[in-house]
Amino acid sequence: MTSVADVKRPALPAPPAHRPARSLDRGAWFLVLPALIPILVLSVGPLLYGILLAFTDAQSGRAAPTRWIGALNFRDLLHDTLFWESFRIGLVWAVGVTVPQFLLALGLALLLNQDLRLRWLARALAIVPWAMPEVVVGIMWRLVYSPDAGVLNETLRDLGLGGGRDWLSSLGTALPAVIVVGVWAGLPQTTVALLAGLQNTPRDLHEAAALDGAGAWRRFTAVTWPALRPVALAITALNLIWNFNAFALVYVLTGGGPGGRTRLPMLFAYEEAFRYGQFGYAAAMGCVMVAVIAVCLAVFLAGRLRGDDDR
């Protein structure tokens, strides 16, 4: 402990003059280590271990020792059409959920930022999907989509829009149906983040613009959006990642069916690892997913930042 503190101390900037430096630094390490050690052991460590695993033939419950096989997993993965199909579904799902989610959340946040009467009720209700366990959200929407006893088919019948459909088990409707659930489930979090951003926008600037005769749309693009932009960017990027990594919702709704139409990459990797025991191969899938997410995000953020420079 002392040696760690000694080695690292040069990295710390000089503390303010009126505080005794030595004891404070040691004290600081004492405060930091209880959280730092579990983080290093149980999340940084496994992350690196996972990357190494991708280059081995590790399998669950096999007697023979695990061997290094280089990039063989990745070469196999390249020709694994099922995986790439799952990957494509994952991208459709992530974008299909994130974009409507953002637009709907922006609308709701703008409404909640107004002086409307039912605002408290909307705020309370907006929390509900957030508070629910994902498994319960999945179960709930199964009830909504249920072919006979579901409210969706019943409403459609009442409106004379034809008979029931089995939304979650027909090939054409399964993916759109789970995307709707994804939008619903993530709406509150996005709304709360955007609302927080909205409340930071300068109110007097808004009023000044209104006095100058700027319409609602003009005020939004000239005053609100520039202030909201960083929050919007951050929450959209996070939503993309979260959605691409989604698991529980679709596991409960369809289990990846029908015919793999909703088999997100996470479900695919889970089955590979814990149903078929192919640890090394599944780890390679994880690496590919992470790499692709990183590249997508870099492109997305770089594009947005360049947009900043243009203005």
Partner: protein
């Protein structure tokens, strides 16, 4: 003036549409939970049960070890929340008060952890816990939940610490209070609401979590509520919607209560983090 009224009407219409979209699945869940089997099987289900019953709840408790799994969830989530807060508070204090390279690295890690690739982590974690003989053990699950909750807890708490004026601590130091004494009797009381909110957040996260619990717990008696809930689907198929809905309602209640309690705080904490960082 007229356009203004029209705008208002439009806004209310939009708000009502949102309310309907957000609430209808939940209302349908409630309605299903109180319906007797005959109404559930009918081709024309109604919003309000014609003969409301509690039988579904009773059946839900009989069919699966629901009570037991709820207790498991409670135990795991409580332990995870307490440990996470105890570990995170000191570190958040240092991160907020000292702009060191470590603090910067930790903030970076907080951001990265939001993008955490669970696929990549779960397999090594499984292997590590297996070698520690912590597979199929709730202690192992608690460890995972603690580490999983730490980044967000750190982020929230750092915001709360920054909101406590340094001047107060300096005044205490001038008055002759030692460092520990300052932390315990000046900073900690001011941080208490933030710590409570963070603990509640960690609790709800653990209570709701499914993926790790599914992978790490195999013995039915040890499994947490979300895992047991999915067994309703697996074992009973579509036939038994009533008990499924009843169990889902029960599983939602605790987190709903907690969120109602901390709703304002959470939004406030996010604001504090957003403004200060």
């Amino acid at each position: 003036m007229r356009t203004r009224a029209a705008t208002r009407a439009g806004q209310y219409a939009a708000l009502l549409a949102y309310l309907a979209f957000l609430s209808f699945p939940f209302l349908w869940l409630l309605s299903t939970a109180f319906k007797p089997p005959r109404e559930l099987g009918s081709l024309h289900p109604t919003w309000i049960p014609e003969h409301p019953t509690l039988a579904n709840f009773r059946q839900a408790f009989d069919e699966q070890p629901l009570l037991r799994s709820a207790l498991n969830s409670l135990l795991v989530a409580l332990a995870a929340a307490l440990i996470a807060v105890c570990l995170a508070t000191p570190m958040a204090y240092v991160m907020a008060r000292r702009r060191t390279r470590l603090a910067r690295a930790a903030s970076g890690w907080v951001v990265v952890s939001q993008a955490f690739p669970f696929v990549l982590v779960i397999i090594p974690l499984f292997l590590v816990l297996r070698s520690l003989r912590l597979i199929d053990s709730q202690a192992g699950l608690v460890m995972v939940y603690v580490v999983w909750a730490l980044p967000f807890a750190l982020w929230l708490l750092t915001g709360y610490v920054r909101a406590v004026p340094v001047e107060l601590e300096e005044a205490a130091a001038v008055d002759g209070a030692g460092r520990l004494r300052t932390l315990v009797s000046v900073t900690a009381p001011l941080l208490a609401p933030g710590i409570a909110a963070t603990a509640l957040f960690a609790f709800v996260t653990a209570w709701n979590e499914f993926f790790f619990a599914l992978v790490l717990l195999k013995t039915p008696e040890k499994q947490t509520l979300p895992v047991v809930l999915t067994r309703f689907i697996g074992a009973e198929g579509v036939a038994d919607l009533g008990p499924l809905a009843a169990a889902a309602v029960l599983a939602t209640l605790p987190s709903l209560v907690f969120f109602a309690l901390v709703q304002r705080r959470i939004a406030g904490g996010m604001l504090a983090g957003a403004v200060k960082s």
